[in-house]
Amino acid sequence: MGLLDKLSVWLGRGKAEVTVLVLGLDNSGKSTLLNALRAPEQRVAHTTPTVAQQQEHFQSGGVSFSAWDVSGAPRHRALWERHYRRAHAVIFVVDSADHLRLVVAREEMELLLAHPDMFGRRVPLLIFANKSDAAHALAPMQVAAALCLERITDKPWHICASCALSGAGIADGVTWLARQLRDGLVPTQHT
C-alpha cells in the first residue's frame, strides 16, 4: 500500500466515528468520566444515575468517538449486550474503592467477554480503575488481579487509574484506545 493510500485512509478514518461502549456497574462513574471529556463550558455540575443510555461524542488522537453511556443498574445490565455488535471498543469503568462489588464487576465482565457478539473479536478493552482519589481505593494492578484481566487473550486491554471528578488519568487511557483503533483498524480495512 502506497503512502498516499495510507494517508487517505488515515484522513478518512479521522472523519468516521468509532463506536465505543462505556460499561461498568452503577455508581462506578461512567457518566462523570464522559462529562470530564466534554469541553469545559459544556460540563454539568452533577451527574445523576443514568436511565437506559445516552450518547456522547469526543475526539482523541485523531479519532472521533461516539460513546454510548449505558446504565449500570442491575436491572439495566441485561441491555448491555444489545450494543455489543456495533461496538468498536469498550471502556469498562470500575469503582476501585468499592471492594465489595469487585466480584460483581468481574462477573459482569466475564459475561461480556463470553457473549457471542464479543467473543473472539479483537475489540480493544480499556479499563478505568476509577475513583483513585477515594479512601481505600485499590491500585490498578490490584483491580486487574481482582478482575482476572490476565486471562483475556482475544482482545488487547489496558488498565489505568483515573479520577473522573478531576479528570486525571482519563486522557492517558483514551490515547491508548485511539492508538489501538488506528493501528488495529487500518490494516483490517484493506484485507
Binding site: 442491575p74 436491572r75 445490565r77 441485561a78 465489595l100 460483581v104 462477573e107
Partner: protein, 564 residues
C-alpha cells in the same frame, strides 16, 4: 453452576460472636451505602462492642456497657432530606440510641414499685420461722390473691414451684425483691412481634396484656422467621425439622432436614418474586427452600452461627454469614441467578404444582383504599360522568368517521372527478392482448373508495378475462395497475377483411373497447375511456379457423392462401 459470588474477606482481625438479632443493615451515612452493624458479645477479656463494617472492612468499634440483645437501625422521619439513621441497641432492661455512633439517648424501661402486700408477704417469707409447709401455704395464697401481672418475677417464679422447691428456694435466697424491672426479650421494628419460649411460639401485639400462644412444637425451637408476604411462620426445631405455620397457628407443612439446623434467615429476591428460606445445617451446608422445595445448596465449610440477607454497600442481595469461628463470609447473589423449579433441576411433584404457594399480591395501598371509598360514596355521579365522557367520545368518533366519508365521497354530480386519471396500455400481437389499466389519484388529501372498473365490449368480438374489477382504497397520490387479458374472438367464418387490417390500419367499429370507471351508489360512470385495440397479427390467427376461412375462400380464389 453456583448462583453466588464469594467476596474475599480478610479473616485475620474479624472475630465475631453474636446473635441473629444483633445484626443490622443500616444506611448509616444516608448515602445509599448500607453498612453492617454488629453487636458483638465479646470474648474473654474483650467486652461487648458495636462494630460497623463497610463491605468486609471494619470501620468502627464502639465499646458497649452491657451485653447487647438486639440491634436495629431506623430513621426518625421519612421526610426528605432524611436525617441520619439512629441505631438502637437493647440491653436487658434499657435501650441506648446512637447517632453517628455516639450515645444520644438512653431509655430505661419503667421499673415500678412493688405492691405493699407483696412486700409484707416477702418480709414474712424471709423469716425462717415461717419456713414450714402450712404457713407457706397461707403466704403463697395471699401472694396468689395479688393480680399476677403486678407481681415481681421472683414472686411469679415462686408460685410456679412445688411446696418442697419453695422451701428450698427460700432457704437459699439472699435478696428480697424490691423493684420490678421489665425485661427486654426482643427488639424489632416489625409490626408483628413473635418471640420464642421453650417450645411454643407466642404472638404479641401492642395493647395486649400478655402474649398469646400461637402454636407449640414437639422439640426446642432453634429459630423463627415470619414471612412478610403472607405472615406465615417458619420454624426450625431441634428434631431436624423445618415447619411452616399459618398466621393462625395451623401447621401447613413440615419437612425433615438431613442434619441438625443451626441458623435460619429469609432470602427475599424481589425481582424473581420469591422469598426463599435459608437453613444452615451443622454439616456446613446452607439449603435454600422455596416453600418446601429445595432450590439451592451452598457449602460454607464451616459451622454457621448467624446468617442475614439484605443490602450491603451498593449491592442489594448479599448473604452475610458469621461462622462459629467468628469469621465473616459475604456471598453476593448473581444477577443472572434463577431459582425457578426448572433452573434448580427440581421435579415438581403434582401436589406442589397445585398452586400451594400464595400469590404475591401487593398490599392494598392507601391510594387504592381512598379511591374505593370515593367510588362507593359518589357511585352515581361517577357513573354519570363516565357515561357522559363515553358519549362524547362516541360522538367524536362518529364525527370523524363522517368527515372521512364526506371527504372521500367523490360524487360526480357535485365535483368534477378531475382528481382521478385513467390510462390504458395495450401489449401483445393478438389474439390475446394484455391491457393494463392505470388508475391514479392525483388529489393531495382525498382518498377514494368504492371504485370499480367495468369493461364494455361486444362479446362477439372480444372476450375479457376479468370484465369487472373492484378497485381497493386509493390513497391520496396513489396509483394502481390492473392488468387484464383481452382476447379477440374470431367466429368460424373469418371475414377476410381482418387479414388486411394491419395494412389499412383500420380496425373499424369492432375494435373499440370501452372502459368505465364506476362508483358504488352512482348510477352514472365517473370516467369512461375508449381503447382502440390493435388488429391481431394475421400470423397469429388460430390455425384451424384460418384453414376454415381458407377453405371457404378457395372456392373463389383457390390459390390465394398458398401464394402468400
Amino acid at each position: 453452576m453456583t448462583r453466588w459470588l464469594d467476596v474475599e474477606v480478610g479473616t485475620d482481625d474479624i472475630d465475631l460472636i453474636t446473635l441473629p438479632s444483633n445484626l443490622a443493615l443500616v444506611d448509616l451515612q444516608n448515602d445509599n451505602e448500607f453498612k453492617l452493624v454488629v453487636g458483638d458479645l465479646g470474648r474473654g477479656e474483650e467486652g461487648p462492642k458495636l462494630k460497623v463494617f463497610k463491605g468486609a472492612m471494619q470501620i468502627s468499634d464502639t465499646i458497649l456497657p452491657d451485653l447487647p440483645l438486639g440491634v436495629v437501625g431506623f430513621s426518625i422521619n421519612e421526610s426528605m432530606p432524611r436525617s441520619v439513621p439512629l441505631i438502637a441497641v437493647a440491653y436487658s432492661s434499657c435501650v441506648y440510641m446512637y447517632r453517628n455512633l455516639k450515645i444520644f439517648y438512653k431509655y430505661y424501661l419503667p421499673s415500678s414499685e412493688l405492691n405493699m402486700c407483696e412486700i409484707e408477704v416477702w418480709k414474712q417469707l424471709t423469716n425462717p420461722s415461717y419456713h414450714n409447709i402450712e404457713s407457706l401455704q397461707s403466704l403463697t395464697d395471699s401472694l396468689g390473691a395479688i393480680p399476677h401481672k403486678l407481681l415481681s418475677p421472683q414472686s411469679q417464679n415462686l408460685l410456679d414451684l412445688t411446696p418442697d422447691q419453695q422451701l428450698e428456694y427460700l432457704e437459699n435466697i439472699t435478696d428480697v425483691p424490691s423493684k420490678k424491672n421489665a425485661e427486654i426479650v426482643c427488639i424489632t421494628t416489625l409490626k408483628l412481634h413473635s418471640i420464642e419460649r421453650e417450645k411454643s411460639v407466642c404472638i404479641l401485639k401492642r395493647d395486649w396484656p400478655e402474649g398469646r400462644i400461637l402454636f407449640n412444637t414437639d422439640e426446642h425451637i432453634i429459630a423463627v422467621e415470619v414471612v412478610t408476604a403472607d405472615n406465615s411462620v417458619m420454624v426450625i426445631c431441634a428434631d431436624n425439622t423445618l415447619a411452616c405455620y399459618s398466621k393462625k397457628g395451623k401447621k401447613q407443612w413440615c419437612l425433615t432436614l438431613e442434619h441438625r439446623p443451626v441458623a435460619m434467615t429469609l432470602v427475599p429476591v424481589l425481582h424473581l418474586g420469591v422469598t426463599l428460606t435459608a437453613v444452615a445445617l451443622a454439616t456446613g451446608h446452607v439449603h435454600l427452600y422455596d416453600g418446601k422445595a429445595r432450590r439451592d445448596t451452598i457449602f460454607v465449610r464451616d459451622l454457621v452461627s448467624v446468617m442475614k440477607f439484605g443490602q450491603l454497600g451498593q449491592e442489594e442481595h448479599v448473604l452475610i454469614i458469621v461462622t462459629g469461628g467468628g469469621n465473616l463470609m459475604l456471598k453476593i447473589l448473581k444477577r443472572t441467578a434463577d431459582f425457578s423449579a426448572h433452573a434448580a433441576g427440581v421435579q415438581l411433584s403434582p401436589h406442589a404444582a397445585g398452586g400451594q404457594r400464595p400469590w404475591l399480591i401487593p398490599k392494598k395501598s392507601k391510594l387504592f383504599l381512598e379511591q374505593s371509598v370515593r367510588e362507593r360514596e359518589n357511585a352515581v355521579s361517577m357513573h354519570q360522568t363516565f357515561q357522559h365522557e363515553l358519549n362524547r367520545l362516541r360522538l367524536l368518533a362518529a364525527k370523524t368517521l363522517l368527515e372521512a366519508h364526506v371527504k372521500s365521497d367523490n360524487s360526480i354530480g357535485i365535483g368534477p372527478m378531475d382528481s382521478l386519471r385513467l390510462t390504458a396500455e395495450v401489449e401483445g400481437l393478438g389474439p390475446v392482448f394484455r391491457v393494463t389499466l392505470i388508475i391514479e389519484n392525483t388529489s393531495k388529501e382525498k382518498a377514494v373508495i368504492g371504485l370499480a372498473i367495468l369493461f364494455h365490449v361486444h362479446t362477439i368480438n372480444y372476450k375479457v378475462s376479468n370484465p369487472y374489477i373492484k378497485v381497493p382504497l386509493l390513497s391520496p397520490g396513489g396509483k394502481l395497475k390492473f392488468p387484464t387479458k383481452i382476447e379477440e374472438v374470431f367466429d368460424d367464418q373469418i371475414n377476410p377483411d381482418v387479414l388486411f387490417r394491419p395494412v389499412t390500419g383500420q380496425g373499424g367499429e369492432r375494435s373499440l373497447v370501452k372502459v368505465l370507471l364506476v362508483k358504488e351508489g352512482k348510477t352514472t360512470p365517473i370516467l369512461a375511456a375508449t381503447v382502440q385495440m390493435p388488429p391481431t397479427d394475421p400470423m397469429m390467427l388460430p390455425f384451424d379457423k384460418m384453414q376454415a376461412a381458407a377453405g371457404l375462400e378457395s372456392n373463389e380464389d383457390s390459390n390465394w392462401f398458398t401464394k402468400t
